[in-house]
Symmetry: C2
Subunit: 602 residues, 2 copies
């Protein structure tokens, strides 16, 4: 019996002893995080699968539910685990609630389904509907996962007003104004990047995401931050941070006290109407709040922090621009290094390249880590949009075809995310055509001008149209929001075909990353981050446009010139010139000369 | 005291005698029609305003609520009526429910609001919310409108299977299958074009819309059509139609019996679950159904006919193509005639041109009327997208600048809708530039290729992008569905920025009509109808494209060539060639020669 099937069996024996018919193991943490710290990698522990997804175990079945992005990875990682892949995002998908309903046909007794309510959103549990006896077991994985890691306890730092533009006092008073406007007298925040933004704190509790595992309860005159503190975090920098927060009126409380405090929230009559965000609040705390005094009214709505955080202020924008200059220097050094290694035939692997790129970023003052795991993918590996470069045994980068590198840095003054697809030798006609068409799509979106009120789903087609015209496409969104020295994925805006009504607003940052993926052959993706900026008013309305933040040249050597219009070539030449003009003074003589060649106008 | 203020005062005196605090006069009819027959022009009767909109009258206020399309017209038509314009679709809009709430601040007694429940959708009355005593007075306008017209009683004709593809037996059995799938045993249809489509009947109860005012109740073994019959409709063709319907199992009942029959619907136990469409059913009948036996369950959902009707079958498609050939001949004859009249300096007005165009259509065998009132607009008048050409005193068409004509025909075999903007003499640079950019947008959408599942709101930007790039725009949607010898506007699909999730499907017909409007100067709109067709499958998915149905050349004389790419010019040349090749054999020698000149490649 393999490791994973043994763990599933251990879970089943707990289920039998407790009378549970099914257990749902969530792939998330109590804070609806996209990336989770090791403590909440219960799906990986149980199944061996490392992507996003949830597991359901019954007496006679164990299944993983995940979407199109992870089908190939899941099939590979689940091999031999006995866990079956349930595909979501396909026409005949059967989501967990429907699957459970059909697995336990209506009979006399309701089947009992155990969940870890801390790791489930209230909306998911609602979707289970009637017909199940839902048992909430906080920290359910503890029952079978003996050496489960502790919650993280990284160093907590604070950022000054000069670094973030808005002080935490300013942000708290802004939030309280929002509460008054919404007729509320308190708000519970559980999303980690919202809390980090509001309090101007950063940590490294989650890999790649500079956040601190915590909850924040803000009333009209108090702000209680629930976070693991002494004896867990005992370094002096964290102590200094906590001291500074206390001085600013933020009470630092113990992470595990949140449920107890919420249970007595309405007792002293100071809180009557509490704002909660049903899209992110976990089920366990929601039930606690529901069980409060009848005097406590729960007001459900999107947290006002979501949008405010996405609209960067002048200091944040200046920081992001600085981050993209230093990151551009890193990228050009890297691309130069790569070309040189290939010419020297030094046998560089995908992993070697990823390590080199991170080490170049690490030389930057203010570097705090990568913003996600570098995707360093050669040839057919790049056909997986979410390819995970293995540490050992990764592919050799050979001097032909296309190499794709998608990476980013966390700096004290900003976050970056860039993809370049690099022709590293002779390319096939198909490679050249795809490379050109994807760049044409990238430019189509980058050059957009649009009236205020336009949402990302209205613009998505600008990146796809050149591909669609030749019946090619990519199966992911075109753009995601990016935080300021925060998560590399953030909402509420995006650029994709879903019907997200959030308009793009000046100060928002979003990626522009069309691609194309040919299984067994190669992949192409061209990604810049762009800033939404004002483009003036006239009789037809108020206009917006995108300003590229990313600074790194696009290779022009394999472009099929006949596929680009003159105005697209003009855009490309102007962009490459801007990259050269900005970065050359910061690069050595040799790399500058090389960049001059790379950015010759076409 | 003017006519309209006198009518408002008469209404107020009824209000006083009955103790009503407010009356809502709906601009619609009992069937949620976009165009209404004279009997339901109560808003026009009361206010003099002829566009879409609703009126609210209280003791101290009378207001008209309408949207951006009608602001200019409403301001003009309401002049002197004492009725105030309430603008909707603007950022600070106050819809009727909110306005009523603020007009009658909370006090002891609920204000009484009288409505004609026949002419209000159930969703609107729901939106009034609590706090009002709503009184439903069917045919409320009768109380003040003495010479109110009778309901229409036009001739009812039937269409054969060879004309429509699907027989009414086939459609009824398809609908009953849908009912079974939806767990229902009956459906109530009240939308006129859905009923006309299902029964293969047509009439002319509503100007431009070939429909018959009626309701249709379909159970698993009966189909009851509630329609004004003898003594109202007494012509032999109608009698023949009713006879044919009866032979096909459709019982023709009296229009006014619908409420009574619905009230006893559940009495005989044959109907337990009735499908109703909350988006279109009127409030009065909804309340009747709600008051039925508790055994009657109302299942709310979009009528299945809506989508089925929009996806044309092969016979309908062939008919629509034929309609566009004959309509193209009409249009080319008209444009030739117009150019000739201008060269002869014969003093043609906008109205003269509209009359000429209708008379040319009337020469076509199978012509049943126009599909909407022709917009014949010269110069600044074309800056109003919904310009209504006056019968007397319309503008002289002078031999300079741009003339816009938006028109369509109803033929037994299809419906057309076309806009051409015609340079009829020297044009300014701005006119040329706008003319070119709007055509560039038209071509951008016309050439689209897109995967199955794509909705109109994803494609809308393809028509706008060329305008947006120079910060120009238009304030209406880009495309609407079109019926088969039915309403010129139909859903459920469209191409606009609203978040309509309905995907475009093969067999749907939609307009492609970007524009630009310069107040006081001119207007440009280029409109073709296009058919959604399959474009093949490959590893990236199943692909769709648009096939232009409309056949009428685009004038190339004022195009700014530098604003078009070669592939846009190629599209335009190929389109104009197709128009010429198809229509020339059907036009006389003189017009053919003229068309050859007009369609010379650029």
């Amino acid at each position: 019996m393999g490791t994973f099937s043994g763990r599933v069996e251990a879970l089943r024996s707990v289920m039998r002893s407790r009378g549970w018919d099914a257990v749902i193991i969530s792939g998330s943490d109590p804070h609806s995080s996209e990336y989770v710290s090791p403590r909440w990698r219960q799906v990986e522990w149980l199944s061996g699968y490392t992507g996003e997804g949830d597991v359901v175990v019954t007496e006679d079945h164990a299944g993983l539910w995940t979407d199109t992005r992870y089908f190939i990875q899941a099939a590979r990682e689940l091999l031999g685990s006995g866990i079956k892949l349930h595909k979501m995002g396909v026409p005949d998908q059967v989501p967990i609630p429907q699957w459970l309903s059909s697995h336990f046909p209506h009979s006399g007794e309701e089947p009992t389904v155990a969940i870890d309510g801390l790791c489930e959103k209230m909306s998911f549990v609602d979707s289970l509907g009637k017909g199940f006896n839902v048992v909430d077991v906080p920290n359910l994985p503890d029952l079978v996962w003996e050496d489960r890691p502790e919650a993280p306890q990284s160093t907590v730092i604070t950022l000054g007003d000069d670094q973030v533009g808005w002080s935490r006092e300013h942000k708290l008073s802004w939030l309280r104004k929002k509460l008054m406007q919404g007729g509320c007298d308190a708000i519970l925040l559980s999303t980690l990047d919202e809390i980090a933004w509001l309090l101007n704190v950063r940590g490294s509790d989650v890999e790649y995401n500079p956040v601190v595992i915590s909850y924040l309860l803000v009333t009209m005159d108090e702000a209680d931050w629930y976070v693991r503190k002494y004896p867990f975090r005992r370094d002096s920098e964290t102590e200094d941070s906590f001291y500074e927060l206390k001085a600013d009126g933020v009470t630092v409380k113990d992470y595990d006290d949140i449920a107890l405090d919420l249970a007595s929230l309405a007792a002293d009559d100071s809180v009557c109407r509490l704002w909660i965000d049903p899209a992110t609040l976990n089920y366990n705390l929601y039930k606690v709040l529901e069980g409060c005094s009848p005097d406590l009214e729960l007001v459900k709505g999107r947290s006002p922090v979501t949008l405010r955080k996405a609209v960067k202020n002048d200091v944040e924008i200046a920081g992001m621009k600085e981050a993209h200059v230093v990151d551009g220097v890193v990228m050009e050094k890297f691309l130069w290094w790569l070309e040189r290694q290939l010419s020297l035939d030094s046998g560089i692997t995908e992993h070697d390249a990823a390590v080199k790129l991170s080490s170049l970023r690490a030389e930057v003052e203010g570097y705090r880590g990568d913003s996600f795991k570098t995707i360093s993918a050669y040839g057919p590996n790049a056909a997986l949009p979410h390819y995970s470069t293995p540490v050992t045994g990764s592919a050799l980068i050979e001097p032909r075809g296309l190499y794709l590198v998608d990476s980013g840095g966390q700096y004290l003054f900003g976050t970056t995310d860039i993809t370049r697809t690099v022709p590293i030798g002779p390319c096939t006609d198909l490679e050249k055509e795809d490379y050109t068409l994807v760049l044409k799509g990238h430019i189509g979106l980058a050059r957009a001008v649009f009236p205020k009120g336009t949402a990302g789903c209205h613009l998505d087609v600008l990146a796809r149209d050149p591909l669609w015209k030749s019946k090619r496409n990519y199966g992911h969104g075109t753009g995601h929001g990016v935080g300021f020295y925060l998560n590399v994925h953030e909402g509420p805006h995006d650029i994709r075909q879903s019907f997200n009504r959030q308009p793009l607003m000046p100060g928002m940052i979003v990626s522009d990353e069309p691609g194309i993926y040919r299984e067994g052959l190669f992949g192409v993706r061209h990604e810049n981050l762009v800033l939404v900026t004002e483009a003036g008013d006239n009789g037809f309305g108020s206009w917006l446009k995108f300003e590229p933040l990313t600074l790194c040249h696009f290779d022009t050597s394999v472009l099929v010139p006949g596929l680009l219009t003159q105005s697209e070539k003009d855009w490309l030449n102007a962009y490459n010139k801007r990259v050269r003009d900005t970065l050359s003074p910061l690069l050595g003589k040799e790399i500058s000369a090389w960049l001059l060649e790379k950015t010759r106008p076409i």
